[in-house]
């Protein structure tokens, strides 16, 4: 191995590139940027402002934070629903005035003042909601206008009544407590904000109205088509925002015991900036209350911090402008490019040097030498079938296979001309096996392990195993269950080929070549699934040895076959019995002469073998080339290999014509014939094996003669 190659091996096999892609698939990465911004903001201002973290200082600043957070929660909900509410500052100010007017001028009770504030907010919100929701006006401009309107009204009212408020004698202990008191060390406004945040969070994530809001924000048209009342939902978000702002307005009325020209000034741009900085997406559907609160803390810390540091007029607007521009740009770019980034970095190929192999070329004289025997096979279901990955025959000689359409099709003996849909599964049935009771067990691609009773009752046996401790993406789910076989004690051994890609992305898995295939066992006695082996390059076919004490399983991208011991001194361990084959192995099944049949889904090529030693080249290839120009395993030529208990190759069958069975994923011997299936083929082949036992059947080999 050259030094360059060794460096590549280290670089690509030891650096866990694939983790970046897996982390990016997580929803919580959306929260990472605002959270880091929050920590940085608090850190910077906490360290340069003396006494920032002191209790009294925090109590005073959190009082304002409570009011502000309430407004931001309302803004967040509106934005999640796909709108925007710029009138929050006006609602806040008008509600504040309503409370002040009811309490100080009309000298009503504080509760009536609260009711007046809430009524103001709800009515204002309802007007916004009617205009934007029902009349479908543009949210931004409409709420901008209602903002000006509300502000003008507030300015008039304040200038008219300011003197009267000053002269009022009204006072109340409740008002003083709400304004200045603390409860368990926290002010009332913080408690209210926390309670409202929790309620809103639960409503958004766990209730029907909350889901409707997210659905409308995510895709208005789809929500409409799904029967959600879009207009009413939008309307309600604005009413809710008005409600939140009015509580904030009531709180500030209590705190300041009055309303002034500055009440709620610039609140709308602050709330908007807070929501966007926190990571609530413009245009709706993405975001959460927690994000809004993070943004609220960041914005308020920055603006208040700058004031306390003594920066002059205008600094706030400057900082808000920068924050808003940067946050909106990041938000838009992140949403637009997240998928691109994910696609770019997800494929993280590793280095592998495949071993030297024997030739499979016709006339080469090796045991792997391909011939043309399979081209002579009869065809079954030609043109009717799509993708019989595995084929199997029952005790009555009927033939079963899975299809791409998510069905298991049965062909009736003896001539296999007539067929019916035996069972509809929904996913692509891959490996098949009959258990002792005659149930058909199937590995269904991307779904799990299923059982179909002779009465055609479909039952899911397993869809998950235990999650491994170091996984980032949940690897408990069976992503690509591929083939199964059943031990004499009834336990089902099956493979899950990869944790990284779905079944239809198998080509990407071969290009990445990362060893994530597993061998698992399902125990029908207690319904549990356990992982036996992990870390193989695309585990594929499984076959119980004739004596039932071990099993063979194929490792496709490494061109190897392993033997896993169930009993005996080596129980629980695997050993490699065939290595460096010229073809990629698929399903393995028993042969009548005590040997085993193994399908080759494709043949190795020198070019792809070479590319496996150049992971950087494969990475560039997946990033820069369209999919149909990728180099991946050749699946246009395959074959059937017979090997013995020791792993020695007995013979190899092929179809050099390329017409009938260019690639083979499965074969099953039955009464002297070999039934051949291929996942990309449109037929099942029936090939008469010379010298085979004329009455040997697979069910009898596994479970004895007819009961």
């Amino acid at each position: 191995m050259t030094f360059r190659e060794r460096l590549q091996a280290w670089r690509y096999n030891l650096v866990p590139d694939h983790l970046i892609g897996e982390i990016l698939t997580k929803r919580w990465t959306d929260n990472a940027i605002p959270f880091l911004a929050l920590v940085a903001t608090l850190g910077v201002f906490g360290s340069i402002i003396p006494g920032f973290f002191k209790l009294t200082s925090l109590q005073e600043s959190t009082r304002q934070l409570g009011e502000f957070s309430l407004v931001v929660i309302g803004m967040t909900v509106v934005m999640l629903g796909g709108g925007i509410d710029l009138s929050v500052g006006s609602i806040f100010a008008l509600s504040c005035f309503s409370a002040v007017y009811a309490f100080f001028i009309l000298e009503q009770s504080i509760w009536l003042a609260l009711a007046a504030a809430l009524a103001t907010g709800l009515v204002f919100g309802a007007i916004n909601g009617y205009l934007v929701g029902y009349l479908r006006l543009r949210a931004f401009l409409t709420t901008l206008v209602t903002f000006i309107f509300g502000r003008a009204l507030f300015d008039i009212l304040v200038s008219t009544y300011a003197a009267d408020v000053q002269l009022s004698q009204a006072s109340s202990d409740v008002l003083d407590f709400i304004g200045d008191g603390t409860f368990w060390g926290l002010s009332v406004s913080v408690w209210l904000a926390v309670i409202l945040a929790i309620v809103t969070h639960i409503a958004l994530t766990r209730s029907r109205p909350g889901w409707h809001v997210l659905a409308v924000g995510g895709s208005r048209r789809s929500a409409h088509n799904a029967g959600i009342r879009v207009r009413r939902t939008v309307f309600m978000t604005y009413v809710f925002s008005g409600f939140c702002s009015s509580i904030g307005g009531f709180l500030i009325a209590c705190r300041l015991s009055g309303a002034g020209p500055g009440t709620g000034l610039n609140l709308e741009i602050m709330a908007l900036t807070a929501a966007v900085v926190g990571g609530v997406s413009l245009g709706g559907g993405r975001g959460s209350v927690v994000k809004g609160l993070m943004g609220a803390i960041i914005v308020l810390t920055m603006t208040n911090g700058l004031i306390r540091l003594g920066y002059g007029t205008g600094t706030n607007q400057m900082v808000l402008g920068i924050l808003l521009a940067v946050a909106v740009t990041i938000d838009i770019r992140w949403l637009k490019n997240r998928h691109k980034v994910l696609n770019e970095v997800y494929v993280a190929p590793v280095y592998l040097k495949m071993g030297e192999t024997q030739s499979a070329a016709p006339g080469s004289g090796t045991p792997y030498e391909l011939d043309n025997r399979l081209s002579a096979a009869d065809h079954i279901g030609l043109g009717e079938l799509e993708g019989p990955e595995d084929v199997i025959l029952d005790r009555d000689d009927h033939l079963y296979c899975g299809t791409r359409h998510g069905e298991i099709v049965r062909f009736f003996a003896p001539d296999y001309k007539r067929s019916e849909v035996f069972a509809h599964i929904g996913g692509f049935p891959l490996g098949l096996a009959f258990d002792k009771q005659g149930n058909l067990i199937s590995c269904v691609g991307a779904m799990g392990l299923y059982s179909v009773s002779p009465e055609r009752e479909v039952k899911r046996l397993s869809a998950e195993t235990a999650r491994s401790w170091t996984s980032i993406v949940d690897d408990a789910r069976l992503r690509d269950p591929n083939d199964c076989d059943i031990a004499p004690d009834g336990r089902i051994y099956f493979t899950d080929s990869t944790k990284r890609y779905d079944a239809h992305d198998w080509a990407l898995d071969s290009i990445e070549n990362r060893a994530t295939g597993r061998l698992l066992v399902y125990d029908p006695k207690d319904g549990s699934t356990k992982t036996l082996l992990d870390g193989y390059r695309y585990t594929n076919g499984v076959c119980m040895a004739h004596d039932g004490k071990s099993l063979f399983f194929a490792e496709s991208w490494a061109c190897r076959v392993h033997r896993y011991w169930l009993e005996g001194p080596k129980a629980g361990t695997a050993e490699c019995v065939i290595r460096d084959m010229p073809g990629y192995p698929d399903n393995i099944n028993r042969a009548s002469d005590g040997n085993y049949w193994m399908a080759w889904l494709g043949m190795r090529t020198p070019s792809f073998d070479l590319s496996l030693r150049h992971p950087d080249m494969r990475k560039r290839m997946t990033r820069r080339l369209p999919q149909d120009e990728w180099l991946f395993p050749n699946i246009n030529t395959g074959g059937v290999v017979k090997f013995n208990e020791k792993g020695g190759i007995v013979e190899t069958l092929g179809d050099l014509s390329g017409n009938a069975h260019p690639m083979v994923t499965s074969m099953r011997e039955h009464k002297g014939y070999l039934f051949v299936g291929g996942i990309l083929n449109n037929r099942i082949g029936r090939y008469k094996i010379s010298g085979a036992h004329p009455n040997w059947t697979s069910p009898a080999s596994y479970w004895g003669g007819k009961p």
Binding site: G82, I148, F149, V319
Partner: protein, 328 residues
């Protein structure tokens, strides 16, 4: 509408309605308000809407291209304030003007870049840059809210220029309106703005340089704002930066929208700005003569703007099928 601008009642549109209202209002004011129909007052009306109209011309070009520029007033006030501050602190005129022009263009280009190349909605970009421009200039570059024009400077002299007793800003407004009219109607890029505003994707597909044109529009709007700011300073002999927090910005949108320039882009022209400016000018003048307090004027203007947006929403309904997700 036919060639001479009279409404065709069978094809009634917003522009026609507004024009009719403006005429009715004019007639009512002429009959009911003493001192309305005098030469001085009519000049005052035109003068009062000149700056507004100039800003609305810039806004109109942006809106026709399916955008909006909320930073216009901030750029207008802050660029001139900075310019005057530089002059007052002794920077040479040419250098100061070069600085300010560069700054204005930079903000316009930044707006355009973020909208065109970063795909950020124009509303947010310009809201943010407007806030930034105000905050930065106010906190870093100037020392008080109002900056006076230096004695004997050309800006001051500009304010005194009269031709036929009509102040210079009226001529600037008329000249700019004519130029924008020529640009929108007879130049290739002017016509392209309509295509890009009507259907940006289609415009891009047929090979129109949609993105560079977007940048150009925002830069144009910024320069127009600078001109408007210079004229304001010329007539008032100072610039008050508090205008940024006033409702001037919404008046600009009001003039454009009420004149019939659809906010969804692709429709309207200079004539709509003139009609909108006429209505607002008459309205403001009448309200001032009746002596309605400024706060109530704001309330009335907001109500009219709300009505205009509702009518705009009904006449140019948003197309749910082609409206983009997140187009707010």
């Amino acid at each position: 509408m036919n060639a001479i601008g009279w409404p065709n009642w069978r094809r009634l549109n917003q522009e026609g309605i507004v024009f009719a209202i403006a005429i009715l209002l004019f007639a009512a004011a002429a009959l009911g308000l003493p001192g309305f129909l005098t030469a001085d007052n009519l000049v005052a009306i035109v003068r009062s809407v000149s700056v507004l109209g100039i800003l609305a011309l810039g806004m109109a070009v942006v809106i026709i291209g399916r955008g909006i520029d909320l930073s216009a007033v901030a750029i207008m006030a802050m660029s001139v304030a900075w310019y005057l501050q530089l002059l007052n602190t002794g920077t040479s005129d040419g250098l100061a003007f070069a600085y300010v022009l560069a700054g204005v263009l930079a903000i316009g280009l930044l707006n355009g870049f973020l909208v065109a190349y970063a795909d950020v909605p124009a509303i947010f970009v310009t809201l943010a840059t407007g806030s930034f421009v105000f905050g930065y200039v106010r906190s870093q570059l100037i020392t008080q809210d109002a900056v006076p024009v230096p004695q004997g400077h050309w800006v001051e002299l500009l304010g005194g220029v009269r031709f036929l007793d009509i102040p210079v800003e009226v001529f600037v407004f008329a000249g700019l309106a004519f130029l924008v009219f020529l640009f929108l109607r007879y130049t290739k890029w002017g016509r392209f703005i309509y295509f890009a505003g009507d259907n940006p994707v289609a415009a891009r597909n047929i090979g129109i340089p949609v993105r560079p044109m977007l940048v150009l529009r925002y830069a144009l709007s910024a320069v127009v704002a600078l001109i408007a700011g210079l004229l304001t300073a010329a007539s008032l002999h100072s610039i008050n930066t508090r205008v940024v927090n006033s409702t001037l910005l919404y008046d600009i949108v009001l003039v454009a929208v009420i004149g019939g320039i659809g906010l969804s882009g692709g429709r309207g022209g200079v004539r709509n700005v003139l009609v909108g400016a006429a209505l607002i000018g008459i309205l403001l003048n009448a309200m001032t003569i009746i002596d309605i307090p400024l706060l109530y004027q704001n309330l009335i203007k907001a109500a009219i703007l709300l009505g205009a947006i509702i009518v705009d929403g009904i006449i140019n309904p948003r197309d749910e099928q082609t409206a983009q997700q997140g187009d707010i």
